[in-house]
Symmetry: C2
Subunit: 942 residues, 2 copies
Amino acid sequence: TEMKLSGQEEFEVSRACENVPTGELDNDSGSGPRPDDPLDAASGKLGDPKDLLLFIQLNELLGWPQALEWRETGRWVLFEEKFEVGAGRWSAPHVPAVALSSLQKLRSLLAKGLVLLDCPAQSLLELVEQVTRVESLSPELRGQLKALLLQRPQHPIQTTGTSPCRGSAQPREASRDEEAPLKEQRQNPLRQKLPPGTEAGAVLAGELGFLAHPLGVFVRLRDPVVLGPLTEVPLPSRFFCLLVGPPTLGRSYHEMGRAVAVLLSDPQFQGSARRASNLQDLLAALDAFLEEVTVLPPGRWDPTVRIPPPKCLPSQHKRLPAQLQEATRPSARRRAPAEDPHGCGPHAPGPELRRTGRKASWYPSDFSDALHPQCLSAVLYIYLATVTNAITGGLLGEATDGAQGVLESFLGTAVAGAAFCLMAGQPLTILSSTGPVLVFERLLFSFSRDHGLDYLPFRLWVGLWVATFCLVLVATEASVLVRYFTRFTEEGFCALISLIFIYDAVGKMLTLTQAYPIQRPGSLAYGCLCQYPEPGGNESQWTSTKPKVEDDIDLGLVNASLLPPPECARRGGHPRGPGCHTVPDVAVFSVLLFLTSFFFAMALKHLKTSRFFPSVVRKMLGDFSSVLAILLGCGLDAFLDLATPKLLVPREFKPTLPGRGWLVSPFGANPWWLSVAAALPALLLSILIFMDQQITGVILNRAEYRLRKGAGFHLDLFCVAALMLLTSALGLPWYVSATVISLAHMDSLQRESRAGVPGEPPSFLGIREQRLTGLVVFILTGLSIFLAPVLKFIPMPVLYGIFLSMGVAAISSIQFTKRVQLLLMPAKHQPDLLLLRHVPLSRVHLFTAIQLACLGLLWIIKSTPAAIIFPLMLLGLVGVRKALEWVFSPQELLWLDEPMPEKERSIPETGLEPEYSFNRSDSEDSELRYQPKAPEINISVN
Amino acid sequence: TEMKLSGQEEFEVSRACENVPTGELDNDSGSGPRPDDPLDAASGKLGDPKDLLLFIQLNELLGWPQALEWRETGRWVLFEEKFEVGAGRWSAPHVPAVALSSLQKLRSLLAKGLVLLDCPAQSLLELVEQVTRVESLSPELRGQLKALLLQRPQHPIQTTGTSPCRGSAQPREASRDEEAPLKEQRQNPLRQKLPPGTEAGAVLAGELGFLAHPLGVFVRLRDPVVLGPLTEVPLPSRFFCLLVGPPTLGRSYHEMGRAVAVLLSDPQFQGSARRASNLQDLLAALDAFLEEVTVLPPGRWDPTVRIPPPKCLPSQHKRLPAQLQEATRPSARRRAPAEDPHGCGPHAPGPELRRTGRKASWYPSDFSDALHPQCLSAVLYIYLATVTNAITGGLLGEATDGAQGVLESFLGTAVAGAAFCLMAGQPLTILSSTGPVLVFERLLFSFSRDHGLDYLPFRLWVGLWVATFCLVLVATEASVLVRYFTRFTEEGFCALISLIFIYDAVGKMLTLTQAYPIQRPGSLAYGCLCQYPEPGGNESQWTSTKPKVEDDIDLGLVNASLLPPPECARRGGHPRGPGCHTVPDVAVFSVLLFLTSFFFAMALKHLKTSRFFPSVVRKMLGDFSSVLAILLGCGLDAFLDLATPKLLVPREFKPTLPGRGWLVSPFGANPWWLSVAAALPALLLSILIFMDQQITGVILNRAEYRLRKGAGFHLDLFCVAALMLLTSALGLPWYVSATVISLAHMDSLQRESRAGVPGEPPSFLGIREQRLTGLVVFILTGLSIFLAPVLKFIPMPVLYGIFLSMGVAAISSIQFTKRVQLLLMPAKHQPDLLLLRHVPLSRVHLFTAIQLACLGLLWIIKSTPAAIIFPLMLLGLVGVRKALEWVFSPQELLWLDEPMPEKERSIPETGLEPEYSFNRSDSEDSELRYQPKAPEINISVN
């Protein structure tokens, strides 16, 4: 657009106005050190922010012949809004579709009408004087018309009390005073939505019986001025158009008025109209507009249907003349590979992977940026997830014979997480003991137990080696290898982690139902009683009968009571009977709680995009969905008051394993050479941690999240290595970036623009990047040891339900899932994805099937004794991706995945970009590739 | 359309072709005695069935200059399908949007090109000869072009094995043999989708370097002939268009080819092109087409976006010239009030309410029409609903001290239902003891108990009186009063019945949880044991301790066993302890079953409209949703094997009340004058039954269901009265049409057309109107007394879940629910309902609020002792509706409700129809009113 405007000296509008940001631009955006991507700006936003907006209003002349009055019946900024006279309300903004015939009628009316360019009028009165100076009108008619034009129009914002001068056809001189904007005009809420610098265009149309011929006047004012009450918003008017005539043409004046408004709301026509020096220029601009319009045939489309605004508009860039497009293209072309072709972020190799020291400059803002209520919700949400994770991580205590218990889990999470949030390059990352690392640790413990090794010292050495390896990786800047993690690798890993999450949530739920078995009615033995030693019987006789209790049904003569088992034991009795060991209803009720919290959380998240409730309420409900689901679960649980398993938080601050201090001794009972041998498992673990850490980093730093403060792959890995040392020495669990929780963290910190111009959807502005939410989460996790009295009311099944919803949300977010769904859809019902326009369906399915097979293989390896080589297999994904280049053509991989780095460099030579290789058949949708989300249209007509 | 065509002698196509039904017309429709509504036919179907369809194919010339070949890249019938070269598949059908510039380029190319109308060519060879006879071409070029045109084009249906003569630029004489359609062409599945009589149009476009100037040829063949392998479907071609030229114009040949195809697929242009006698006629037709197109501005719409076909298309009627429209309008106008303005059926007073004796003529088909697998699903579904209803109706036995037990309920349901299905006018109706009648009966019993009356004889007299009153109503043809039941009354009643359904389902579920209480862990007493009389103790001592058992916790020395309570009792013991009375897990598990079956049934119903699975599978899953949900529930229940309450069916055939025979004695212990006094409650009950029966009838006979066999209001009421006599005499429950189950019955019998021409949605054809499903349902209900061994596996909570889904489906189907939802939506997020375009939102909300208030009042009255006047209140709804005429303007009521009969007649005078009263501002969407469903567009761009 800048290209277009440069060198045009006759351009009249002051250039200062052009740089005024429109409402959709957030104050932050563009100010960061990350270079603004021109394509991004052009395609992600509606219109071009550099264009000046026009507010166009159509005042229609109604009531001929008895009670003439001007009434506002339509308005345009980006889209059209129609005033529904019957309903007395504005329609929703919609794409302004006009009949071609109206545009043509308008053209011929303007061609023989009056066109005043750079009219010097300074008020409505002067303007009306100029406009009515048409030769064909007799002085009497001229006076009548003038009076009519000075009539105050009816705006929907006017209160019914202040009735305007209806039907007064007498000429009335409007004084300067009367031209001042009305109170209603100034208080119009629409005014706030229009960016400063917006000018107005007034279109007056309607049938006027006393005219013999149609009259068309088009005026461009030299100096825009507020034309009194003419427009509902008191903006300086730049354009004025009058279309009146005898009623022979029926509604065509209205339609011609709409046509003018649509023309003026088009940025290109508007620009031409601003530059036009005579009628011919104006008509040429109209013809240029017609050159570009899309036509819908009458028999296949109902013109009365209103098309809602699309979420993405084509960039104005595309509409430039071909030569200019060529001139601007190379820069776009160079940047294209970094941009995501499918709306599902690539890693942006380059600046992020170099040490720049610029993290420090963001440090103060990392705290000040957190001052927003949304952060509170994020803290609550992530805190609960982290605590639950810490508890379930603490269950590892059982698997490791208490070497790592709940307290270690809490302490480690708090210390490692907080330290990471304070120091890391990407503080939005949440550390946790992730699935693969937990699996590895469990394997390590089994190994050392089977070989009679002292676990914690052995583990210390493994940790030391891992830290060393990681520091070497940092020193050699090995993180640039991240460039080889294409979407294939990312999706495989992300799907695996999400599945582990889902599997764990369901699995833990099932474990619960096993812990609280359901008593079948068919069993022979039933019930429970509390048996006391018989008055005569002694303790030994009492115990001797004990082993037989379970089998015996007939107890004979016993001294019994009906006290509940714990009370019974306290009073010296002994609970007997199968009923004493079952806690009724808990298992089924837990399932109910689990499902309730899962579905409730999902439903609240969906509510965010529904039509119900004002957007503030919806956003609030959506943001707090997890917290609300937990509260609902707690409420249900408290209402039924069953002994469901609750969240248990440790109270005492000491290592779980009795008799060990906080510091792990370096050797213990192990031979010295073990400290060297530990390097071998450490190598595997290093690969695992590198992959886990860096893939998560890549996912979190996707371009689609619009992070401004950049990533810090090297710094993050350094932090993880340092924390590895600390946790190994203290015997705490190992921590690495947790994909799912970190994604949930980012998700809960999304910034969206407030509603802008009518019809413009709220746009995603980025993430609240700061260190505070994470820090507070981990401080709270540490303090949770003291919050036990409150947290003990949260039932575990509810938390498992929330975990399930997190896993489902994570796995739904990847393109892989969409492709798996395609497998279940018949071809003719598939959505119109760009991918499917360019790659044969069988190839898409083959790619998906290969991914599924890799995922299945990873899952199997994770579950078998061979799990120790799991990290290598994860690395193998990169190899599989490389091998895919023999199976799929580069074009196919470009749509299905991303090119590997070598290819990336060779693009200009081989012409890999679809835009160039397919330039004949695909030029019509090549532009779509550069939109952050490929527009996929569903028009459902109910 | 008929108007348009009449008197046009030059119209060339044989008229016989015109009457060939298109694929979307079912063989049944239009053959019934019910007059076909012309508006209905015009607006409900795509296009006009009288128009001849054209299959248009675009063959594009690709590969210049090395390897020239023709490749099919697009095709059109109603909508456009693009062949995706990269993906090797056809796109989904979409609205053919073209650039205006392409249409204009086409116009100028045709204007100076070759136009052959009524070309006598009989083969491709002859056609090519004619086409290449252009002066500007040298003989050499002509030969090259001829050879190129005779090249066999690449169709996507061709197997890759049979490679066509690629790039053979030598002139090659195509023999007659070679012009025979290929096997692939004849086997093309598309052929079946096109109605017989479809002709083809072939468009050939592309850049051809050896030409100096663009060449445009348009041919209309005098006798359509199959042009060999030119089109993928071997249809006789009527039109042929060639657009080639030097490559300076880029892709414009492709776009011009699309433009021709779009033009030809337009029925009006096609008609003109068939009639055109010279170039001027053709260009005039193009200009006439342009007059009608809708234009989308370039800056606000992305032309590469594909718009899916709308579900409703504007009727071609609308496109007639204004004079013709006026001529055809009066008939439409007279019929308009009977037509539903909002797509949510009015009663059609008139033919249905007169005794015509025509029911008999349908009788044989009432059985033959039932031969469809869908009926099996309907029988299963409705049978289960009816049996469940019979069981829950049998629960009335408790409320009436056994006067009406489960057996009576089964017997009555079977006898009354089957008799009604055999004799009634509307055999789709399912009889049942509906909510309001049950409420009334319960009140009647309380009254007679409180006043010491003998219930059954009193009830007999009430029944006799009701039957008399109903017969009087039938004799006086009072059913014409149904005309006063506007949508307001219908919706109020339907919402009330649905709410009773939902309330009962949830209520019964809660009753279950009370029957199986959950034992709280906090209670002091716990457990259960089986106590035997002490060896020394006698029976009396045993019983004396009994009352204290519940309070005592300490039992002292007892002779105990751990047998379950039933076994304990059998062995002469006595179960003691609170645990004996609770059945653990059943209550919570029942809730789980209830929710599972409800959500599963709902999810399966929604699957029917999802993208997943082939349509056959989806339809099957949707149709059998209830049965599948019941099976799932039974499976879950069997898996856990808990003692959930199951469906119990009586086994013995005798009245529940001991000591009474099947015939009720006319007086019993009652005084004689009671038989006269019974007329008073009978009056109330008659009102109730009249309302209940007739409103259900009105709802079932809505125009939107497209019933062909007509209603039978008088006959139905007569049947109900006769059955009233029978059931009263036998002491069985009273039966009346059940709204919710009958709607579910209709819903499960919907007929839909199979997929027609690409892009055409399957259209609703009507209901399988027959007597067999209902009859079988009631015979099965009667036989259920013997099916007890199978039915006993169905848990009651599952059936309650299905009931809930039926209630929810019924209440979601009325417009009232949509308006209630509007209350929760901010104005700017509301859907673009036509209602909201014409009535102020506050008035809509007021109307909804009044309906809500009425509903609340009815609910309260139903629940209080004043419930006996409930029927009067129901009648009061009609009065409230009448009173609304003072609050709302006639226009508002026309949109919100329907006019009452008096008003209806005065419409022509007062100009009540919005089309006329608002003819200025609303003409643009007046046509929409006559569409069965107002199109409400949602374009979601993800």
